[in-house]
């Protein structure tokens, strides 16, 4: 008899056993008849000799094994019957737990996607990223990497790649498409432990640079192969055109592969060619990021210590004392960790803690509901105990009920979590979360879900089960009546649970309140520019084409002309990077002359930009149409920059006319620029960060001959347009104008300035949005918990209320009685919660802006919200208590 049969065809085995025992009795009786006994007597004797038939069957079935399973199935059936009998109770427990499990699951799904994502490399845990410098991550010249390769013993191999910020294009079968291109060392793919699915891949030479003649080879990712070349099976050896140059295809990487970071669009890898400057450590030597594979069993710390020792000697080769100091330090981090944005990681962990708190609140609420239920079922439990059920068996049965409830809750919770994730990804962009997560339940999520379900069942039902099984049988059976009541200690326990719910909710609400105030403060920081009615196109600039022509007159000027004449456009301007944009920041450190030592943001702009953004001038003028390539070169600086020369506000004018850096490439005949205007400060990087010094140059003056042309005009350029109508209506006509200006510009990303500002709130926004949900749910749960407890207490005390009325109590007195009890619970909860909030404020402290972590107003407001909600929760039970009819109450049972 297999366990399978036992579970699903129990009747068959039972019938077989019945027949076997029937046969035994028949044979025993037959023997006796043979020896001369009468029919009746023989049967009776056989039966007597056999003993207790039912008991024998029971113990025999026990020998089949899997008895526990049968009991379990029985418990499940019984639990289902119980739930069907009180659907309201079941729904509230399942709903409560589903909320908690759903929040935790949704949070974990995001964390899993963002932080625990599997890298598509062999043994990714052994991959590390090496940078020089301690605080600043500095890229590394080849000679240093060569020195590590020669001396370090901790690594199986060290590869490197060059970061490229420009835009690259590949000619596919049908169209030219933007691709991400990374230049990598020949040994990169072997170090990552991934071989191409097609072809040999890049050649790996000893120094891992490409030999002459091999530089124009390319490996593409699976997406590029499929979408651009129709998964051509004989693509190897074919020539494709990248940035208008011929490259021979030598490999296609497997599906899902990416490097250096997650990327789902066409991606290419080409080898790095050895540059003569790679043999030196001068400022213009090419710099790389090193990726290494640790030898098996070597820890990060060991490798770090070894490399640090080597680096001490390597750094001596730098002639510049600052370089020598900076580069004597190293940073080594796991490659997986290096891909994660630190602030997002922190925000996610904080929010996971918040979701955990919400889950705990939900469990406490469920415990409270189950405790109330177990009081109602006291008699049932006592009856089962009296009939011989052991304590263990009773606890098992209650735990099974708990598991069933939390299992159902897990199903609903998962649906809730995935639904929420899907919902968030379909919200209009303004309200969307800054993190995209697919709503899929993978193995990690399933494991966590199972753990949550089990933990929820244990946390919420273990205590009520234990209490129910421990309570003495006899008094419960004797008292009988509905008003038998429960012990004082149980009342206190349930009160304590409600208090803890209120306290935890307060901590969540306080965190939420602080973040909402932060967002409010951030939104009210004067930005220094207007954000309304502005459309920004972050242009996909085809670098390879623009370096070959003078983009300012050949592309940008006609583009501006075209856009300015679009219907509904007030003004249009260009800027290397708009404020708060995070596309391409150029930093300029002035080495000599006035302003030496100041590091500034450096941008090329077109004159009309001021009309788009409404920048305020403190002194002088902004650029105008006269600042052409032929005119005298001019710059505009901001207040932060000017302050170095004129600390006092009224001296700003003195800065006008000062000479600054030269734009020309000719070092012999510098043509210094003149400062013609001072802008008021505006926030460039983040609303919460102070302004940095800024130097702006006029776009037409940065010609192809200028030494800043490549960096200011051919890598990134933002087009900002002031519109008369809602900017959203202009998106398609602006896109069309861009496409007409240059076909590659069709890939440009168009958004509103309001959205850019909103996006810049990043983790604060994420934290605030989710905390609103968590704290709101927590508030709902603790109100429900308080209401549940009071409603129960009132129903238990109907007779007492009746007596009070009979003795002359007024309705008001009884209402007051209930409200007072609620009040003491809420106030104790608030006191405990305030203490908790003080301890847990560390979690949100890093996100606050314009508000302190112990903000009295926030705490006060949160406490007020809780008091009002508590009063509402208490009002209904109080009114019911006041409505008790004394005669009926006293007559009842």
């Amino acid at each position: 008899m297999s366990i399978w049969q036992r579970l699903f065809r129990p009747e068959e085995g039972k019938a077989d056993l019945d027949a076997e025992i029937e046969a035994h009795l028949a044979m025993a009786a037959a023997d006796r008849r043979e020896r001369g006994a009468g029919q009746e007597q023989a049967n009776a004797e056989a039966r007597r000799e056999f003993g207790n038939v039912a008991l024998v069957k029971e113990v025999t079935r026990g020998a089949w094994g899997g008895m526990w399973l049968e009991r379990l199935a029985q418990d499940v059936r019984y639990a289902l019957r119980q739930l069907r009998r009180s659907p309201g109770f079941a729904a509230s427990v399942v709903g409560t737990l589903a909320l908690g499990i759903g929040a935790a699951t949704a949070m974990f799904t995001v964390v899993d996607h963002v932080l625990l994502a599997n890298l598509p490399y062999a043994h990714p845990a052994r991959l590390v990223k090496i940078n020089e410098g301690a605080e600043m991550r500095l890229l590394v010249p080849y000679l240093d990497i060569a020195a590590w390769r020669e001396r370090a013993r901790s690594f199986e191999g060290i590869a490197f790649y060059g970061e490229r910020k420009d835009h690259n294009y590949i000619e596919g079968r049908n169209a030219t498409t933007q691709v991400k291109l990374t230049q990598v060392s020949g040994n990169l793919f072997p170090v990552l432990g991934v071989a191409p699915q097609l072809g040999p891949g890049l050649k790996d030479q000893p120094e891992s640079f490409a030999r002459r003649g091999e530089t124009h080879t390319v490996v593409m990712n699976d997406v590029a192969w499929r979408s651009l070349f129709g998964a051509d099976p004989v693509i190897l050896g074919k020539v494709v055109r990248v940035d208008d140059e011929p490259y021979t295809v030598v490999g296609v990487m497997p599906r899902g592969f990416f490097f250096p970071s997650a990327y789902e669009l066409p991606q290419l890898w080409t080898p790095i060619e050895l540059d003569p400057k790679d043999q030196g450590r001068t400022f213009d030597a090419p710099r790389y990021t090193a990726v290494a594979r640790l030898k098996y069993g070597v820890s990060l710390a060991t490798a770090m210590a070894e490399l640090q020792t080597i680096q001490k000697q390597v750094a001596r080769a730098y002639t510049d004392p600052d370089d020598r100091k900076d580069r004597s330090q190293l940073s080594l981090e796991s490659y997986g960790a290096s891909l994660q944005d630190k602030s997002t990681t922190k925000a996610l962990l904080t929010l996971t803690a918040a979701a955990g708190l919400l889950w705990l609140i939900a469990c406490v609420n469920a415990t409270n509901l189950l405790l109330a239920r177990s009081t109602v079922r006291q008699r049932e439990m006592a009856m089962r105990g009296a009939l011989g059920a052991s304590r263990g068996r009773l606890i098992q049965q209650l735990i099974v009920e708990g598991l069933l409830l939390s299992g159902m809750a897990a199903a609903f919770g998962t649906a809730l979590a995935m639904g929420t994730i899907v919902l968030f990804s379909h919200l209009p962009q303004m309200a969307r979360l800054p993190i995209e997560t697919p709503a899929t339940v993978n193995l990690h999520v399933l494991v966590v879900l199972a753990a949550l379900t089990l933990a929820s069942a244990i946390v919420s039902s273990a205590w009520p089960a234990f209490l129910a099984a421990r309570s003495p049988i006899e008094p419960a059976l004797r008292q009988g009546g509905q008003q038998s009541g429960v012990s004082r200690s149980q009342h206190r326990l349930r009160g304590g649970l409600v208090i803890s719910e209120i306290a935890m909710s307060l901590a969540l609400l306080a965190a939420c309140g602080l973040l909402l105030r932060t967002l409010y403060a951030l939104r009210h920081v004067p930005l220094g520019f207007r954000t309304d009615h502005i459309l920004v196109a972050n242009m996909a600039v085809p670098t390879y084409r623009f370096t070959a022509l003078n983009a300012a007159d050949e592309i940008y000027e006609p583009l501006l002309e075209r856009v300015q004449h679009l219907p509904g456009v007030d003004a249009a301007g260009l800027m290397t990077q708009v404020p708060l944009g995070h596309t391409f920041t150029v930093m300029l450190g002035l080495a000599d002359g006035p302003g030496a030592g100041i590091t500034s943001q450096f941008k090329a702009v077109s004159p009309d930009l001021q009309r788009v953004f409404g920048f305020r001038m403190l002194a002088g003028r902004y650029f105008n149409a006269g600042d052409t390539a032929a005119a005298e070169p001019v710059v505009v600086v901001n207040r932060s920059f000017a302050r170095a020369f004129a600390p006092k506000e009224q001296d700003m004018g003195k800065v006008i006319g000062m000479k600054l850096l030269s734009l020309s490439r000719d070092r012999e005949n510098p043509t210094p620029t003149t400062i013609v205007g001072i802008l008021d400060d505006f926030h460039q990087r983040a609303v919460g960060e102070p302004s940095q010094p800024e130097i702006e140059v006029s776009l037409p003056q940065v010609t192809r001959g200028s030494r800043f042309y490549d960096v200011l005009e051919t890598v990134a350029m933002d087009l900002a347009v002031r519109t008369q109508r809602s900017p959203d209506e202009m998106v398609s006509s602006l896109g069309a104008a861009l496409r007409k200006a240059s076909p590659e510009l069709a890939d440009s990303n168009i958004t509103t300035m309001d959205q850019i500002v909103e996006d810049s709130y990043g983790s604060q926004m994420l934290a605030a949005r989710l905390l609103e949900i968590f704290a709101g749910s927590a508030l709902l749960l603790c109100v429900a918990g308080l209401y549940g407890l009071l409603a129960y207490v009132v129903s238990q005390r109907t007779r007492e209320m009746g007596v009070r009325f009979a003795l002359g109590a007024q309705r008001g007195d009884v209402v007051w009685l209930v409200m007072r009890q609620a009040g003491s619970l809420v106030l104790t909860g608030i006191a405990a919660g305030t203490a908790l909030a003080f301890v847990s404020d560390r979690l949100v402290r890093g996100y606050l802006f314009g508000v302190t972590a112990h903000d009295g107003w926030t705490l006060g407001a949160v406490a007020a919200v809780l008091i009002v909600s508590g009063a509402l929760a208490a009002y209904l039970p109080a009114r019911r208590a006041a409505g008790v009819n004394p005669v009926e109450a006293l007559r009842a049972d």
Binding site: E20, A23, H24, A26, M27, D31, V56, T60, A63
Partner: protein
């Protein structure tokens, strides 16, 4: 007579019931009632196997695949469930017997010869 038998009955040592069942089945397939009668007869009416021990033991041995069962008719035309030894069961019986002999010898060695009852 019945009382006498009862007094002489010995509690079965733990684990020996399996041995007795397997030994009984060595002589051929038998049903539960037959097994209990055989053990009683061959022990000189001393060992009476309780049904509450016999049937769980039979079902357990079947789960361990030492015996197999089959419904058949007895000589008296009674349908009954017959148990039979498997090859594994035979090996198990041999092991159990060897252990049992060793145990009996060991215990006998410790106890020594039965002392003469004092007159």
């Amino acid at each position: 007579m019945a009382k006498e038998t009862y007094r002489n009955r010995i509690e079965l040592l733990q684990g020996t019931l399996d041995l007795l069942i397997l030994e009984t089945l060595r002589w051929g397939a038998q049903h539960g009632y037959g097994i209990s009668q055989a053990i009683r007869a061959r022990s000189g009416e001393v060992l009476q196997v309780e049904t509450g021990s016999l049937y769980p033991a039979l079902h357990r041995l079947e789960r361990q695949k030492w015996i197999v069962s089959q419904w058949r008719l007895t000589d008296q035309n009674q349908r009954a469930k017959f148990y039979d030894l498997t090859a594994e069961g035979r090996e198990q019986l041999f092991r159990d017997r060897t252990k049992w002999e060793a145990m009996v010898q060991a215990i006998a060695g410790v106890l020594g010869p039965l002392p003469e009852p004092e007159a």
